[in-house]
Assembly symmetry: C2
Homo-oligomer: 354 residues x 2
C-alpha cells in the first residue's frame, strides 16, 4: 500500500497533546480506508530542547523536512523563551524556507457547536468562510531593526515588503479558491487608505487579476471595517484574501466567532509542490492547560484532514471530517466548546466513528 | 459667558449630516447649562471641494486650526477620490501636525441597545472598555515606497516607525487612564512574536513604565489572540493600549461588539494642550446612506460630549451623555441599532432630554 511520509513536529505545550491525538486518528483512518498508510517521523524541536541544547532546528533542519510528503505541526511558544525567538527559530523559517506562501484557514460552525453571535445561534448556515492568508512576506518579512537601543531616543522599525510576485501568486490562489466554491465570491482586505505603498500595490494587483476571473464576484474591504462586517454580517462573506498580519488577526477573530480557537485548522501550502506543505491547528501552545489532557483536538483533526486531502486521499479526508462532525454533533466536546470531555475521550469517539 | 471656539470640519458623506446634528445639540446644551457658549467656524474641506479646486486644506490649514480651542470632525472619504489621497490630505495630517498623539476610543453597551454577542444580550455590565490608540507613528508613519512600479518585479514597502518618545508617552497616558478607572487594569497589545523590532520595543517600554504604576494590574496580549478574548471574554478587559494599526482594527471590532459602528466616539488628543484636540465619531463617510438623513448621530454626540469635557465643561458633558442614554433607553434609535428613527428625530429627542 502507498506510504505517506509525514514529518511530525509536536513542539510545545498542548501541541504535544494534540499531535499524539492526530496521529492516533490518522492511523485508524488509514487502516479503515485501506490502500495507504502514514509513516510518521517525530522531530523533538521544541522550547524545552532549546533550553537544553540551545537550538530548535539543527542547521540542516529544512533539508531534513524536504524529504517528507507533508509536515504536521503542533504548536510553538513557551513562557520561558521570548516568543520572537521561538517563532523565528521554528515555525516562521519553515513557512518561508519551504516556500509555503499560502496559508488556508477555513471557518465554519461545526454541528453541535454554537457561535457566540446571537444571530447565528439558531442556524449554522450563515458563517462559512475560507481565509487565504499571504504567508511569505508582508508584515512578516523580518526586516527592520533598532537604533539607539536602551536610550531615551531609541528608534525601531518594522519593514513590510510586498512584491509583485508575492502578491499576484496569493491573489491567483484566492481567485481559484473562490471559483471552486459555490458562491464564487472573493473579498479582498487591505488598509490602503492609511498605507499608501504596499497596500496600494495589493489593490492594484487585485483588480488586475480580477479581470481574468470574470465569473468571481469581488469586493474590497478595509481591515478595520472588515471586523465589523464579520461580526454583523457574517453571511455576506465567503472567500477572503488578506496580508500576512491582517489575515493572522482576522482568522483568529473568525475562529472566535465560530465558537472556539480550538476548532480552527490551517494549511501552509507550497502550491508548486516542490516542497512539503505543513498543517497545524491555528491555536497556540496554551501553556496553562498543557499536559492536562484537556486540549480540544478538533482543530488538530481538521488540520490532519486537510493534510490527508493534500497528499491525495480526498475520500479519506471527507471520512475524517464527517467523523469529527458526528462527534461534535453528538455533544462529545471539550470544555471550550461547552462540553465536559477530555482530549482522549474526543479522540476515542472520533476513532470509533471512523 | 465663556466662549469655546470650535473648528468644525464636516467633511464628506454622513460626516455632514452628523456634524449638523452635533452642533445643534451642543447649542442647546450650552443654552441649558449656561455660563459658556460654542462658537463654530465651519471649514468646507471635503472631497467635493477637492474635485472642484484640487486641494482639501489650504497651505496654512494647520495654522488656521491652531487658533481654536478644539476641532470637531465629521468624516472623510468619497468613492471618487482614492482613499489614500483623501486621508493623507486631511485627517492624517491634522492628527500628526497638531501632535494629537493619543486617540481615545471608549466602548460600552448603551442602555436600550444590544450586543451581537449572545452572552451579553441580557446585561450591559460586561463590556466597558477604553482603548488607547497610539496616534502619531507606528504603521501610520507614512514611510515606504514602491520601486519598479508597473513591472512584474515591483517591490513596495511600508515602514512602521516606533520611537522611545512616541511609545513611552502613549504608555504613560494609558497607565494614567487605567489608574483613573475603577478596575485599574491595563492590557497591552502587540505582535512581538512575529515583529521583532518595533513590537519588542513596545513590550520593553511597557514593562519599564509598569514599574511606576504598581497599583495598575497589567497583562499583555498578542493582537490576534486579543480578538478572541474580546469576543469570548469581554468582561476580562478594561483599559487597552495598542499601536496605531492594531487599535484601529480592534476599536472597530469593539464598536461592532457593542452593537454598531455608529455609536463609537473618538478623541484625538494633544495632552500637552499646546494644540487643539480633535473629536470625531469612528465611523466613516458611508456614501451609501449620505444625505438621506438616516445616519446614526450617537457616535457624533458621544464625541461631542468628549469635546465638551476636554474644554473644561465636565458637568455639561455628563448631562449630554445622560441625555443620549435616556434617548437610546427609550428606544429612539436609528436602523443600525434596530430602531426606526432618522437622524433628526434622534437629535430632537436628545435636545428635548437636555
Ligand atoms: C505563532 C505565530 C507566529 C503565528 C502567526 O502569527 O503567524 C500564529 O499566530 C498563527 O496564526 O499561525
Ligand atoms: C480614515 C482612516 C484613516 C482612519 C484610520 O485608520 O485611522 C479611520 O479608520 C479611523 O479609525 O479613524
Amino acid at each position: 500500500s502507498k506510504v505517506h511520509r509525514i514529518a511530525s513536529i509536536p513542539g510545545d505545550g498542548i501541541g504535544v497533546d494534540i499531535t499524539v491525538a492526530a496521529e492516533r486518528v490518522l492511523h485508524v483512518l488509514a487502516k479503515t480506508v485501506g490502500g495507504f498508510e502514514f509513516d510518521f517521523t517525530t522531530f523533538d524541536w521544541s522550547s524545552e530542547k532549546y533550553r537544553e541544547r540551545g537550538w530548535y532546528m539543527p542547521p540542516d533542519g529544512i533539508d531534513q523536512l524536504k524529504k517528507f510528503d507533508a509536515i504536521y505541526f503542533g504548536a510553538v511558544g513557551s513562557p520561558d523563551v521570548p516568543d520572537h525567538i521561538s517563532l523565528w527559530s521554528l515555525i516562521l523559517p519553515i513557512r518561508k524556507s519551504l516556500n509555503q506562501y499560502v496559508n488556508v484557514r477555513p471557518t465554519r460552525i461545526l454541528p453541535g457547536t454554537t457561535s457566540p453571535l446571537s444571530a447565528l445561534s439558531t442556524t449554522s448556515s450563515h458563517l462559512d468562510w475560507v481565509m487565504i492568508r499571504e504567508n511569505s512576506e508582508g508584515e512578516y518579512s523580518g526586516q527592520g531593526g533598532t537604533s539607539h537601543s536602551d536610550t531615551s531616543y531609541a528608534v525601531a522599525t518594522e519593514v513590510s515588503i510586498f512584491t509583485y510576485v508575492g502578491v499576484s501568486r496569493i491573489m491567483r490562489y484566492a481567485f481559484e479558491t473562490a471559483r471552486s466554491r459555490p458562491r464564487k465570491k472573493l473579498t479582498m482586505v487591505t488598509k490602503s487608505n492609511a498605507q499608501r505603498h504596499g497596500m496600494v500595490l495589493w489593490d492594484k494587483i487585485f483588480y488586475e487579476i480580477a479581470a481574468e476571473y470574470p465569473d468571481v464576484e469581488t469586493d474590497k474591504m478595509l481591515v478595520d471595517a472588515m471586523t465589523v462586517r464579520m461580526v454583523l454580517h457574517p453571511e455576506s462573506l465567503d472567500t477572503i484574501v488578506a496580508t500576512n498580519l491582517h489575515a493572522d488577526i482576522l482568522s483568529d477573530l473568525a475562529a472566535a466567532l465560530s465558537g472556539s480557537i480550538g476548532i480552527a485548522p490551517s494549511s501552509n501550502l507550497d502550491p508548486t509542490r516542490e516542497n512539503p506543505s505543513m498543517f497545524e491547528p491555528i491555536h497556540g501552545s496554551a501553556p496553562d492547560i498543557a499536559g492536562k489532557g484537556i486540549a480540544n483536538p478538533v482543530g488538530a483533526f481538521w488540520s490532519a484532514a486537510e493534510m490527508v486531502r493534500w497528499v491525495g486521499e480526498g475520500s479519506a479526508a471527507d471520512m475524517l471530517m464527517q467523523a469529527v462532525e458526528n462527534v461534535t454533533a453528538a455533544g462529545v466536546k471539550t470544555k471550550d466548546l461547552g462540553g465536559d470531555k477530555n482530549t482522549e475521550e474526543v479522540t476515542t469517539a472520533v476513532c470509533e466513528e471512523i
